[in-house]
Symmetry: C2
Subunit: 188 residues, 2 copies
Amino acid sequence: MIMRKRIKELRRNFAIEPGRDFELSQKLLVERLNLEVDVVRRAAAKTVLKINESMVMNGVHQVLRFVEDNGLRSVIIGNVMFWPSSYTRLILERFKLAEYFDRQYYSDEVGAYKPMKEIFLKPLSEFGVSPCEAVHVGDSFFEDFRGALDAGLHAVLISRRSRSETLGERGFVIEDIRGLITLLETEF
Amino acid sequence: MIMRKRIKELRRNFAIEPGRDFELSQKLLVERLNLEVDVVRRAAAKTVLKINESMVMNGVHQVLRFVEDNGLRSVIIGNVMFWPSSYTRLILERFKLAEYFDRQYYSDEVGAYKPMKEIFLKPLSEFGVSPCEAVHVGDSFFEDFRGALDAGLHAVLISRRSRSETLGERGFVIEDIRGLITLLETEF
C-alpha cells in the first residue's frame, strides 16, 4: 500500500517516464521488500490465479450491458501497477468483461499513463470522437477524474465516501457504478 | 505456424533486436492476419485461460523432482512468442512447475533471446556457475541445442524423431524428457 501510494503520487505529478509506470512500480516494490524481481513476478502470477469473481464490482455487468444496448462505444483506459496489463486482460476475459469493450488501452502498452492527456486522447482519435462527446468513469480522483476533465472529457468519479453530486459542467460523482445508468439517461 | 517459423528463422540469424522478439512476433501476426493488436492480445489471454494440464509433458514432474532431490540448481531460459512471459509464468504457477526452479529468464525480460550467448550466460554468472558445469535442456535445434553448445554449456536436445545419441563432447539427444534422468546419472 505504501508503494501504491508512492506510484500514484508520482503519476499525479507526471514524474514517471511515460510507459514505465509498471516497471517502476515493480522495481520500487522489489527494493522495498528486498526481494528478487523473480519473486515479485511469481507473486503477481499467483495472485492472478487466486482472484475470484468476488473482485468484480456488483452491478458491473448490468451497467456494461446498458452501455452496449444503447449503442455506445466503450473502451478501457487503464494504469498498471505491480503486474503487467496482460494479467488485467486475462482477468477481464475470465470474468467475461472484455467482450463489452471495443478496445483496451493500458499504460504499459500505450506509453502514457493517466492523468496524462495522451492516454485519454489516443482512443478518442482512433474512434474519431471528440473529447466533449466522451465520458470517462473511474475511481481515482487525480488519475481518472481530474485527468479526464483536463483532457476535455466528461468525467464520472465513483466514490463510496462522497454523496452523488456534480462538479462544474463536466464532472459527476456517483457512489456506486450502478449510478452511471441514471447519469447516462439524464445528463448526456 | 508460418509466423512461428519466420520468427525462429529470424532468431536463428540474430536478425531481431535483443528483447524485441515478443513484440515483433505479435506485430507480424497482426499484419499477417490483418487484425488489430487488441484482438491478438485478447486471443492470447483466452488461449492461456483454456490451457489445461494435458499440455504438460509426461514425466516432467518426475524429472524435475529428480533434479531437485540431487541438489542441482535449475533455471528456466525461455524465448517468448505471441504472448509475453507473464503468461508463461502464470502457466508454470498453475501447474505447480514454477516451484522447481530457482529463477526464470525470458527473452522479453532479459533483453536477449536464444540462441544469443547472453541469455545463457546471464543466469550462469548470477549463480556463479561456469558454462561447462551447466546442462541446457530444450527441444529446439538452433535456439536451444546449438545456442547452448555455442555458449559453452552442455546441451540436451529432446527430439522424438531422433534416436538417443551423443553429438560431440557436450551434446546429447534424447527422445523423451525422462531420458534426462539416465543422462544425469551416467554422463555428468
